[in-house]
């Protein structure tokens, strides 16, 4: 019974936000095009790898960055900006009056946005294969499935962590700046700029304690068929995500008290 009701609400939200995202598809496509850093790095590393100085071959580099491009499209979270907007404008009040937790709206908007992104992402990947036909590959069904599961976990963890950081909007008008700092660290530790294989050993070991490599590097490795320590990944992501979720619950309650105290 509970499940049926939940599914009905979920479906309604999904349809609502899908329509909304289709309306804004021009903007969404531009976001896809704006995230071409992996493709630029693809070119640079592929060219550099011709010298054979690195642990990966040219073709491996090309495949790596195509996979990074795809994975990145689906793991990117922007809830902190949306939430900050709601708090600052006071519109959060309307959402609080509804019988569902505001978080589900954000989840719905994130999922539907990715659905709309998908066609263009596939088109870009096709273009890459067109440029480098020798790098063409398709992951096996098993690899794809495990990568997908890991990506869902990665999405949940990153969402939980960023949503937790969004709570700071109750106290500061510039909470989104924290995300900028997070992004800098993410950029360099997650395997976005280069596969962790080329990192010096000590640095690499440090990164594995953080959740970052599990957001990009390991899902990519799974797609490439190079395997990844799934158990370890799930554990690290679970711990970080769980901590984020717990902290969010605490901050949410405190934050709401402050929000309503300010006459919203």
């Amino acid at each position: 019974m509970m499940l049926a009701r939940f599914l009905r609400k979920a479906r309604a939200l999904f349809v609502l936000y899908l329509g909304y995202m289709l309306e804004y598809r021009a903007e969404i496509y531009l976001w896809v095009l704006a995230s071409v850093l992996p493709l630029i790095l693809l070119g640079v590393w592929a060219h550099a790898a011709e010298s054979g100085a690195y642990p990966l071959s040219r073709v491996e580099f090309i495949r790596y960055f195509i996979a990074v491009f795809v994975v990145r499209q689906f793991s990117f979270i922007w809830v902190i900006w949306e939430f900050e907007d709601l708090v600052v404008s006071g519109n959060l009040s309307q959402q609080l009056l509804q019988p569902i937790d505001p978080v589900w709206r954000f989840v719905a908007s994130h999922i539907t946005e990715r659905v709309v992104r998908l066609p263009l992402v596939l088109a870009v990947v096709a273009l890459c294969f067109g440029l480098y036909p020798d790098a063409f590959w398709l992951p096996t069904a098993a690899d794809f499935a495990t990568a997908f599961v890991l990506l869902v976990l990665a999405f949940a963890t990153r969402f939980a962590l960023q949503y937790m950081m969004s709570m700071l909007s109750f106290w500061s008008e510039r909470a989104a700046s924290i995300e900028e700092l997070w992004f800098v660290i993410h950029l360099f530790l997650s395997g976005l700029i280069a596969p962790l294989d080329v990192y010096p050993e000590p640095v690499r070991r440090i990164t594995e304690l953080t959740p970052f490599p599990y957001l990009i590097y390991y899902p990519v490795n799974l797609l490439l068929g190079r395997g990844a320590p799934f158990g370890q990944a799930a554990l690290v992501l679970g711990v970080w995500g769980g901590l984020g979720w717990l902290l969010q619950r605490i901050l949410w309650r405190r934050g709401l008290r402050r929000y309503s105290a300010m006459g919203n």
Binding site: L33, V36, V44, Y54, S177, I178, L181, I185, A194
Partner: protein, 261 residues
């Protein structure tokens, strides 16, 4: 004109005054810039492990390019992006009308109204990188100074491209983030153009999105590398892009519909 100078001074004075209300931002800006600096240096060094290189450029020469890129990005954050957000906001809320009513060049107003100190750490770090690289290369100051001219042309080119894209929001507010695409593509300016594979990549980033002109050319001029010949392309491109940005803006205004009350 004296009037424009007086207006510019007041624009920047009032803009800084309202930005500096948020002091925490400066700390965050410095931290963020430091993070990018460290990360970029680290990323650059990865190419040079085990005897590899970027397009045959020695490490410190590539560092010079990266320094120029960081400085350019910093100037972008100081001068351009604060104004960009405002343009889209103006179109959406209808306050662009107030700008158009004033007896002053609207492109000037929209491009210079705001200035943000948050990009200054980037500018500082970028210049630091440039000077460090120059010192390591035993580059004579006079030689390095030759890069200033081409670098200023880079600023003009980047501005013109950016303003042209911002003008598009007059028609379609929904594509306001088209300048983000430009930012994403300009990231290729981190590396010397020779780091990119010959063929499609190099062609696109030299002639279509002239990233090569932005950082590689000033560096090549200072280093007396072959790429400095592209300077012949920079000058007409800068002039052309700037002129076109003005014409394009005037064209956009003809279609301006202005929000109704």
């Amino acid at each position: 004109m004296a009037r424009y100078a007086r207006v510019l001074w007041l624009f920047w004075k009032t803009s800084l005054a309202s930005e500096l209300e948020y002091r925490l931002n400066f700390l965050l800006a410095v931290l963020s810039s430091l993070g990018h600096l460290a990360g970029n240096l680290f990323g650059l060094s990865l190419f040079y492990t085990r005897g590899g290189s970027l397009g045959g450029w020695p490490f410190h020469q590539a560092l010079l390019v990266m320094g120029l890129f960081t400085t350019l990005q910093g100037m972008n954050r100081v001068l351009l992006s604060p104004n960009l957000q405002r343009i889209v906001e103006h179109v959406r809320t209808g306050t662009l009308d107030f700008v158009l009513i004033k007896p002053i060049d609207t492109q000037f107003w929209l491009s210079t109204r705001r200035i943000s100190p948050w990009g200054l750490p980037d500018v500082a770090f970028g210049l630091g990188m440039v000077l460090y690289a120059a010192a390591q290369l035993d580059l004579a100051p006079a030689r390095l100074a030759l890069a200033i001219g081409p670098f200023l042309l880079s600023v003009v080119i980047q501005y013109s491209l950016w303003f042209m894209l911002a003008s598009i929001s007059i028609w379609y507010v929904k594509v306001h983030n088209v300048t983000e695409v430009l930012n994403g593509l300009l990231a290729a300016g981190r590396y010397p153009i020779d780091a990119l594979p010959a063929g499609a990549y190099r062609f696109i980033f030299t002639f279509i999105i002239p990233v090569a002109l932005l950082t590689t050319v000033p560096a090549s001029v200072a280093l007396e590398r072959e790429g400095q010949r592209l300077l012949l392309l920079s000058v007409p491109f800068a002039l052309g892009a700037f002129t076109f940005s003005r014409a394009f803006w005037r064209h956009a205004l003809r279609s301006y519909t202005s929000a109704s009350s």
